[in-house]
């Protein structure tokens, strides 16, 4: 642990959300942009890290949330939904930036085989570097499993298309309905002038089971089933459907079967409930939709009549993995069960399809895995690289995006230097959990729930089950962010070791030995110490308030120039966290200054020092209106008390120089900024106009 500024500067330490994200989306910064209403910047940040941001805002396994430090206080911040909010709110902006166009593409052609998240990410990156990527896709629709398998209730195609169109607009050529290895060979690509080839075909085929009766009519494989569901002629399923498998695809299949009208859907899996590889939240939603789960069972045989499926026999699975953690299921043959079924859908895993390598000489690892170097992403043939699940094995969408970025780097390096680039695995250092003694002092703020359809409504059709956050909900959720790593920084040369910070820190974090230290692992970034430090030796990594005078000066001076106006000129410092829509404040910042009121947003008015409170008067304002957060909603203990103390001191200073202390007003937000601020401004302005006239009268 270190509160030492230099040590912190030398070795950046990240917020756990950022470190946990495979593509290291700067989620902490993203939330800050949202809070500030800078949604355009938020979108740019997202797309820079992840061109599949629309998709990942819906279906990501969100390791960011799993590592969120707020979990220890109440529940993680809904980061995935915040990302979705940004892409949804910025749809028009995204289209407008798309037309801006990419760089001229003068460099070599690169063939990318497969248009899933890995391949398209790589292609997008290559285009941005000026290469000419051409993506070959076997299906008519790009997107890999995102476009062709994931059910629409989780991921509407329009969402996938948003991301894909964005990538294509960078200058990526897409050739659909072309099967490399069949319609043309890898060899032909090199002959056609492609300088490199990237294999990113994913795991596109379902594995099947070798048990008696598996070839009965009515037995289906997961991926072909899901693909057909997305086609123009969705399949009919029987009344009773059994799904074999406990992973995310099995869950998709089971829920899809319910939506196709199956009355009784049962998932059978080897794993125990706790071991099921599907995400826990997906399993919960599946059960809500009436799917029955039979954990710790394995299929023994399929039985039928005249080749028609009738049901299957199960045996108890006693262990899935051996002592080394390898898949090696063991069964109790005496513990059996029978289950009737009109359809059986097998969802026990996916494998690669290496058709594209036909005749290429690229070495494989068994029948469905490519042989590749995990560091350089090179295959056995020069100029041919591999990335995504076909190389790495099963993973998530965001991991595929990460691998796509790596592949683009690998290929760019190869084409520029003729050498392979070693990209070792990289883990970002992060600040870890909040210490217990700090966590217990953080006020609880319950997460904002996103509206989800009722299970009964959900299974009626393939409508998306969750509505995204409204702007007000997104802003309310964003304020829950603990702003990890953005805490206080001490200038040790200025620090007098006076202990003021230690005495006022509401989280008990500040210490003083030689000089003050607020270890960033513990600091909650409230800013109370910075505003109180008598040596002005504490800075904040975000939302500093040391430029208040410079900020208000030009506006106030402009207003004062239009002298003769009846109304008093007022600066209003307002709590940023009380806004429920950015339009309100944008409008207010346009409409109110001409009326003599200059709103300035501050993330917690307790960050304002006495000097900050005086600065409006320095530049000629007649009054100051401070608007704090609503009752009981402050993020920081004691903050309101500190603001009140500082306002008292600032009033004292005014009195010392003969100004009325009533020139400073404090209001507490009522309900929201929109609901109360304009009324506060008008009331205060009326009062201040009277004070000003009386004061001018006296001076005459």
């Amino acid at each position: 642990m270190s509160g030492n500024r230099l040590a912190q500067e030398q070795q950046p330490v990240y917020a756990p959300c950022t470190a946990a994200c495979p593509v290291h989306t700067d989620t902490r910064q993203l939330v800050e942009f949202i809070v500030e209403g800078r949604y355009e910047d938020a979108l740019e940040l997202l797309l820079e890290a992840n061109p599949f941001s629309s998709v990942c805002g819906r279906i990501c396994h969100h390791p960011c949330e799993q590592s969120c430090r707020r979990s220890k206080v109440d529940a993680p911040v809904g980061l995935m939904r915040l990302k979705r909010f940004v892409v949804e709110a910025m749809r028009d902006y995204r289209l407008s930036r798309r037309t801006a166009g990419g760089p001229p593409q003068k460099r070599e052609k690169v063939a990318v085989i497969g248009s899933g998240p890995a391949g398209l990410t790589a292609a997008g990156d290559l285009a941005r570097e000026g290469f000419r990527p051409v993506v070959f896709e076997r299906s008519a629709t790009p997107g890999g499993l995102l476009g062709n398998a994931i059910p629409r209730y989780r991921l509407p195609y329009a969402v996938v298309k948003e991301d894909i169109d964005d990538i294509l607009a960078r200058g990526v050529e897409l050739r659909t309905a072309v099967t490399v290895g069949q319609d043309l060979l890898l060899e032909d690509l090199f002959a056609e002038g492609f300088a490199a080839v990237l294999i990113a075909t994913g795991l596109s085929e379902s594995r099947t089971l070798a048990i008696p009766g598996i070839d009965s009519r009515g037995v289906l494989l997961a991926l072909p089933f899901l693909r057909t569901v997305l086609s123009s002629q969705p399949p009919a399923v029987g009344r009773r459907v059994v799904v074999i498998g406990g992973g995310n695809v099995a869950v998709d299949v089971a829920r899809t079967a319910r939506r196709l009208g199956a009355e009784k859907v049962t998932m059978v899996c080897l794993e125990s409930r706790e071991e099921m590889p599907a995400w826990s939240w997906e399993v919960e939603e599946t059960e809500e939709e009436g799917v029955q789960i039979m954990p710790s069972w394995g299929p023994r045989s399929v039985f039928g009549e005249d080749g028609e499926l009738k049901g299957l026999e199960l045996r108890r699975c006693t262990a899935v993995f051996d002592s080394d953690g390898r898949f090696s299921p063991r069964f109790d043959e005496n513990d059996t069960a029978t289950i009737v079924a009109d359809n059986l859908i097998i969802a026990i895993g996916q494998r690669g399809n290496l058709t594209c390598l036909r005749g290429s000489g690229v070495e494989t690892d068994g029948p469905d895995r490519i042989r590749w170097d995990p560091g350089t992403l090179a295959t056995s043939r020069e100029g041919v690289f591999a990335c995504g699940e076909v190389a790495t094995g099963p993973g998530s969408a965001v991991e595929a995006v990460f691998d796509g970025h790596r592949a683009a780097k690998a290929i760019v390096h190869y084409l520029e230097t003729d050498e392979l680039l070693e990209q070792p695995p990289m883990e970002l250092p992060h600040i870890g959990e909040i210490p217990d003694e700090v966590a217990e002092k953080v006020p609880v703020l319950s997460p904002v729930a996103a509206e989800v359809l009722s299970p009964e409504d959900r299974v009626r059709d393939f409508s998306e089950i969750e509505r995204g956050f409204t702007e007000a909900e997104a802003l309310a959720e964003a304020r829950r962010c603990l702003a990890c790593t953005t805490g206080a920084l001490v200038d040790e040369e200025r620090c007098a070791g006076c202990l003021t910070c230690v005495r006022i820190c509401p989280f008990g974090v500040a210490t003083v030995e030689q000089t003050a230290a607020m270890p960033q692992e513990e600091c909650m970034a409230c800013g109370l110490c910075a505003a109180q430090c008598p040596a002005a030796a504490i800075a904040l990594k975000r939302f500093g308030t040391n430029q208040m005078r410079e900020m208000v000066q030009p506006v106030v001076m402009e207003l004062k120039k239009r002298a003769g106006a009846e109304a008093a000129v007022i600066v209003s410092y307002c709590c940023l966290f009380e806004i429920t829509g950015r339009d309100f404040i944008r409008r207010a910042q346009e409409e109110y200054p001409p009326r003599g009121i200059v709103p300035v947003l501050v993330p917690c008015v307790a960050r304002l020092s006495v000097a900050d409170l005086l600065s409006p008067f320095e530049v000629g304002a007649d009054g100051l209106v401070v608007i704090g957060c609503s009752e009981g909603s402050c993020l920081y203990p004691t903050a309101e008390q500190r603001v009140m103390e500082r306002i008292r001191r600032a009033k004292g200073v005014l009195a010392e120089i003969g100004l009325e202390s009533e020139r400073i007003d404090y209001w507490r937000t009522e309900r929201s900024a929109e609901a109360s601020w304009t009324a506060f401004w008008e009331l205060s302005q009326r009062k201040l106009s009277r004070i000003r006239s009386a004061s001018e009268e006296r001076r005459r």
């Binding site: 040369e493 200025r494 005495r503 040596a535 000097a611 600065s615 320095e618 120089i657 003969g658």
Partner: protein, 234 residues
């Protein structure tokens, strides 16, 4: 630590009324710790003066700075040049009286005004509350009085107390002031050395205090060249 309190702004304004470029200079040590004259208070004083001049429609430039300690040559070495280069007409020091003196000597032709009242040597007995505990008399007798100073903490600085004005541990001058001798007695009871107070202390030689004129301390290692000019010789 030296404890000070900022002067009222109206008084400071009175000092500098005739100047057009004024430097407010904080001190980063004692004055910062006692919240009277650190960098944050420099900003407050500067803001207050700016507002005050603005109201009177006087064009005055207020500059702000803060040095680590106003009582060391190295920390104020740059000041004369800075003051000259920036055309500063007057300096308001938020350091203790020592700082004001030292700056006045350093700056020679530019007036230096006190922005704080220097109060005493004291301790922060609780956040924001300081209490006088030492009078700097130049001859410590704390070993005789249980570590509690009769010079600083007795209103009369008597050596054989308490006097008849001690009531329930408080001093007759003000019921909020503790009787220094009552504190000494309580402390020595706890130490089991109360009997030592039976010995009457003789009148002391006050020449080590300010009564002997301005004093000087010379450290033989740090200032070998100065030996022969002051106390170190004795």
């Amino acid at each position: 630590m030296i404890v000070a309190e900022r002067k009222p702004l109206a008084e400071i304004r009175g000092f500098v009324d005739d100047y057009r470029r004024i430097l407010i200079l904080g001190c980063g040590t004692c004055a910062t710790v006692c919240l009277a004259g650190g960098e944050a208070e420099v900003k407050v004083v500067a803001a207050g003066l700016r507002i005050s001049f603005l109201r009177d429609e006087k064009e005055v430039e207020i500059l702000e700075d803060c040095v680590t300690r106003q009582c060391e040559p190295e920390f104020v070495a740059d000041l004369p040049r800075k003051v000259q280069d920036e055309g500063v007409g007057a300096v308001v020091s938020l350091g203790c009286g020592v700082g004001v003196n030292f700056l006045a000597q350093t700056l020679e032709t530019v007036p230096v005004f006190p922005g704080v009242n220097t109060e005493f040597f004291g301790a922060a007995v609780e956040p924001g509350v300081w209490l006088e505990m030492c009078a700097g008399c130049g001859n410590c007798i704390l070993h005789l009085t249980g570590g509690i100073c009769p010079i600083a903490r007795c209103s009369k600085s008597i050596l054989n107390g308490p006097c008849g004005g001690s009531r329930d541990g408080k001093c007759e001058i003000n019921p909020e002031v503790e009787c220094g001798w009552a504190l000494i007695v309580e402390r020595m009871k706890k130490l089991g050395t109360l009997d030592r107070l039976a010995e009457i202390l003789p009148p002391r030689d006050w020449s080590t205090s300010h009564h002997g004129g301005p004093r000087k301390v010379i450290h033989p290692e740090a200032a070998p060249a100065a030996i022969g000019q002051g106390k170190a010789e004795q």
